[in-house]
Amino acid sequence: MSELLLPRDHKDLGDIITKASEDKTRLEVIGENSKQYMGRPMRVDRTLSTRQLSGINFYSPEELVISLRDGTSLSMVEHTLRHEEQQLAFEPIDYGHLFGFKTGQGTIGSVMACNNSGPRRIRTGAARDSLLGVHGVNGRGEYFQNGGRVMKNVTGYDLTKGLCGSWGTLCVFSEVTLKVIPRFETCITLVLQGLDDRLAINALCDAMKSPYEVTGAVHLQKTPVTLLTDPKISSLGTSLTAIRLENFEAAVRYRSSKLRTQLSCYGDVLEFGEQQTDSFWQDMQHLKFLTQSKTPVWRVSTAPQNGPILVSEIERVVPVSAVYDWSGGLIWLEVPATSDVSASDIRRSLAHLGGHATLIRADREVRTRTEVFHPIPGAIGKITRGIKNSFDPHHILNPERMYAGL
C-alpha cells in the first residue's frame, strides 16, 4: 500500500477527498489507528490519517467548552482538561487493553466517530450528547459545518448527532467542539458481593431509581473480577456489583449513607474509598475485566432489566463471561470462538428482548463473514443507504466498515 495521506488542515483534507472522490479511490480513515481491529474488514486503496490535524482550536474553561482538531490525541485532551479541573462527561472507553495496545491511544475524532461512551454515560449522556458542533469533509470533498459552540442549538437539522457514531463512513471530521464538565470533588463506590445477575441488576436499578445521582452502575460476574488491577479487589473471589457516587464531599458522604441503607436488603455493603474507586472505574473504562486473548467479545445494548435474561439465554447454549454496565443496559460478553461466535443466538434473543449487538473483537475472517454491526431492518436500511449516499455517493470513506454494500 502507498504512503499514508496526512492532511495538515481542512483545506488539505478537502483536496485529498475531492481527488479521491473523482478517482473513486477508496480511503481507510484513521486517527492513530487504535480501532484498526474493529468493524468489518475493508478493501481500500489508500489510508488517510487525521493525526496531523491536531491541536486545540480554543478552550474556554469558564464556559465548559473545548474545540479540538480531529486528530488531537485523547490523552492530550484529558490532560488539558484535568489541568483546569474539568473532564469529558462521557468517560470514553479505552480499547487498548482489549487489542493488546498500550492504553491512552486514540484521537478525539475517533472517539466521536464511534460515539464511544463509558460508565458515566448513564448519568451525563453519551459522547454524542457532549458534541456541540463539527466541521468536516464529506465523501464528495465538500467542507461543511453543523452545530456550533453553544449549549443549546436547534438551528437546522442536528447532523452533529447524526454523524457521531457513523464510524468515518459519512465524513471525516476536521474539528469537533465539545461541552465538558467540572471534575467532581470526590467519589466513592458502594459494593455488593456474590449477587447473581438478576438480583444484581435489580440492585443497580434500585440505586438508579434513587435521587442520589449515581454516576456508575456495573455488575461483574466472578471470573471478570479476577482480572482487575487492584489485588484487593481481584482477590475478592465473588461477583461484584458496584455503584459510584461523585459529587462534593458532603453530598457523597450523605448520599452513600442513604444508599447503603437502601441497598442493605441485598447484603453487606462494602465501600471503596477514592483511590480504590479511581482504580476500579479506570478498569471499567479500560475494559480490564476482559481477557487479553483472542476470545470474541460482543457489546450488547438493551433495556437494563433484559440484560440478565439475554445472558441466561446465551448461557444455555455456550459458557459466557458477562459484565454489565449502565445498570444492566450494556453487556460486555466474552463468548467461545465457535463458527458464528454466537451471533445468531445473541441476535435471536435480541429480536424478542429489543436492542442490538456489535461484535467488538474477533478474527478478521470472523468479522468478514459475521455481521459486525447489528443488521438493520428494511426501511431503516433504506434510510441508512440514503444517508450514506447523500454524504458519500461513491462509497470512498471507510467502505463497508459498518455494513456490506455501504
Partner: protein
C-alpha cells in the same frame, strides 16, 4: 404583510379539495375530519400568530395506523402534510399552507407504559409534556425537559422542535432524553428507531429526527428517559445593580465548577411586568434578577447556596433571597413562568430565541438594548442564562403593519448579533418559517445542502411541513437527487 413569504398554493390541489376529503375519509373512517371553514380556522396558525393560512383540510387521527394510511394517500397524490401537536410553536413551525392537510395529533394521548426499573416511559405523541411528569409524580419521577408551554405543548411537538426549558442546564434538552420513537414516513411506512436501551444501532437516526421540525416523518410514539426527582429543590433570588453585573455573575457561577439545576435571568422591565402580573414579591429596586436553583438534601442545598453566595458577593448584589419552603419556591418560579402571559396582557410581543456563549452575556445584553432602541422598541429580557439562551421580547403593536415589519427587522438584527457573537439563531424554539430566511447567517450553501439532502432521503418529494427550516431558495430544496433517492439495502437484510 410581513417579510416572510409563504409559497402560493397549488390550484389543482385546491380544486380537488372535496374529492381529497372524500378519499381520505374512506381511508381513515374513524379519524375526525374538519372540513368547514370555521373549524379549519382554528388550525390556520400557531403561537406565531402573525402568520395565517387556512389549511386544505384538518384530520385528527387516533392511531399510528391511521396516520400511516393518511400519509400513504397524500404521498401518492402529492399532497403536502403538516403534523400538528398543540400548536404552541413560537416560530411558525405548524403554520399551514392553503394546499396542505393538517394532521392534528392531539387525540393520540395515551401513556402506554411506564417502567421505573428501566427508567423509561412510552407515550403517544399527543401527551402533553407536563402530562408525562404528572403520570409518574406519585412515584416521585419526572420527565426533565420543561419548556414554558409544558402545560399545553405535546411531546411529539417537543421531539419535532428539540424543545428545551428551564432545567435543561442540568438535564439536557429533548434529544438528550429521548430513547426511541415510532415514526411514520411520508410514504406511510412505519419504523421504530431506538427503544429502551441507551444507545442506537447504526447511524444515529434519533439524533436526526429530534429537531427536524416534522419534516422527516410523523412521530407517533416516543420512549423517553425518566428520572427520579431530587429530594428537594430550592431557588435563590439575587438582585443586581446592572445587567452587566448579573451577566458576569452567571459566567462566574458556571466557571466555578458548579452546574445549578436552573439559572435564569430577568431584566428590570421583565421584573416589573412579571411582578405586576403575578404579585410574587420580586424586588423592584434592582436592575436585574437571577434565579439560581439547586437540588439535593437540605444540607446539600445550603452548602451549594454558600458557594453561590461567595461568588455573588463579588458582584455587589442588592438583594439575596433564598426560598425557605415549597411555597416560597413556587412563588419565585410562578413569577418567572408567568413572563409570557404577563407580557401578553400588556402588549403584543415578539419572542426571540438566540443563543450566545455565556462569556458574552454582559456584552451582548448591552447590544440588545442598543439595537432595540435603534429600532424604537422596548425590549424585556427574561431567559435561560446558564446556557446562554436569550429570549428578548420585543414589545410592539401587531395591528400596525409598519410596526410589525420593524419588529421583524429588529428581531433579525438581534439574531444576527447572536450568530456574530459565536452563537446561533435558535436554542429551543426552532427555525419554522420565522427564521427560515436567516439560515444563511449561520450556514454556507454547502452547510445547508448537507441538511437538505437528509430531508430528501426521508421525504424525496418534500411534502412534509412545507416552507419551514430552509430558505425558499436553499440548495437542494425540493429536488430529488437520483443517487440519494435510489435506495435499496444490500447486506444485513437477509438477517432481518
Amino acid at each position: 404583510m410581513s417579510f416572510i413569504p409563504l409559497p402560493d398554493p397549488d390550484p389543482d390541489i385546491l380544486k380537488r379539495r372535496a374529492q381529497i376529503a372524500k378519499s381520505l375519509a374512506k381511508i381513515a373512517p374513524d379519524a375526525i375530519f374538519i372540513e368547514d371553514e370555521a373549524g379549519r380556522e382554528a388550525y390556520e396558525t400557531d403561537a406565531l400568530a402573525t402568520y395565517r393560512r387556512l389549511p386544505l383540510l384538518v384530520i385528527l387521527p387516533s392511531s399510528t395506523l391511521e396516520v400511516s394510511q393518511l400519509l400513504a394517500y397524500c404521498h401518492k397524490e402529492h399532497i403536502q402534510v403538516i403534523a400538528r401537536g398543540a400548536g404552541t410553536s413560537l416560530c411558525g413551525g405548524a403554520v399551514p399552507t392553503n394546499d396542505a392537510v393538517v394532521i392534528g395529533l392531539s387525540r393520540m394521548r395515551r401513556i402506554l407504559d411506564i417502567n421505573y426499573q428501566n427508567r423509561t416511559a412510552r407515550v403517544e405523541c399527543g401527551v402533553t409534556n407536563l402530562g408525562i411528569s404528572d403520570a409518574m409524580s406519585d412515584q416521585d419521577f419526572f420527565y426533565a425537559p420543561d419548556p414554558s408551554s409544558q402545560i399545553a405543548c405535546t411531546i411529539g411537538g417537543n421531539v419535532a422542535m428539540n424543545s428545551g426549558g428551564t432545567h435543561c442546564l442540568k438535564y439536557g434538552v429533548t434529544t438528550n432524553n429521548v430513547l426511541g420513537v415510532k415514526l411514520v414516513l411520508m410514504d406511510g411506512e412505519v419504523i421504530e428507531i431506538g427503544g429502551e436501551g441507551l444507545d442506537s444501532n447504526g447511524y444515529d437516526l434519533l439524533g436526526l429526527i429530534n429537531g427536524s421540525e416534522g419534516q422527516l416523518g410523523i412521530v407517533t410514539q416516543i420512549t423517553v428517559r425518566i428520572l427520579r426527582k431530587p429530594e428537594m429543590a430550592r431557588p435563590m433570588l439575587i438582585g443586581f445593580n446592572s445587567n452587566k453585573d448579573a451577566g458576569n455573575c452567571v459566567t462566574a457561577i458556571i466557571a466555578s465548577g458548579m452546574i445549578p439545576a436552573a439559572l435564569e435571568f430577568m431584566d428590570k422591565r421583565a421584573i416589573h411586568i412579571c411582578e405586576n402580573y403575578a404579585k410574587v414579591g420580586y424586588p423592584l429596586d434592582v436592575e436585574a434578577l437571577l434565579i439560581v436553583e439547586v437540588e439535593g438534601s437540605e444540607n446539600e442545598i445550603n452548602l451549594q447556596f454558600d458557594h453561590v453566595r461567595d461568588i455573588v458577593e463579588k458582584f455587589a448584589p442588592k438583594t439575596i433571597r433564598v426560598a425557605q419552603n415549597d411555597e416560597e419556591a413556587e412563588k419565585i418560579w410562578r413569577g418567572r413562568k408567568s413572563a409570557l402571559g404577563a407580557m401578553g396582557q400588556l402588549s403584543d410581543f415578539y419572542c426571540l430565541d438566540g443563543v450566545i456563549p455565556i462569556s458574552r452575556l454582559a456584552d451582548v445584553l448591552g447590544w440588545v438594548d442598543h439595537i432595540a432602541r435603534h429600532h424604537d422598541f422596548e425590549v424585556a429580557n427574561v431567559f435561560h442564562a446558564g446556557d446562554g439562551n436569550l429570549h428578548p421580547l420585543i414589545l410592539y403593536n401587531a395591528n400596525d403593519e409598519e410596526e410589525l415589519l420593524r419588529a421583524e427587522a429588529c428581531g433579525a438584527e438581534l439574531l444576527r448579533l447572536c450568530v456574530k457573537a459565536g452563537g446561533c439563531l435558535t436554542g429551543e424554539h426552532g427555525v419554522g418559517i420565522e427564521k427560515r430566511e436567516l439560515m444563511r447567517e449561520q450556514f454556507s450553501e454547502l452547510d445547508l445542502i448537507q441538511q437538505t439532502r437528509i430531508k430528501t432521503v426521508f421525504d424525496p418529494n418534500w411534502l412534509l411541513n412545507p416552507a419551514k427550516v430552509f430558505p425558499l431558495t436553499a440548495p437542494g430544496r425540493g429536488g430529488i437527487e437520483a443517487d440519494i433517492a435510489e435506495i435499496s439495502m444490500p447486506g444485513g437484510e437477509s438477517e432481518r
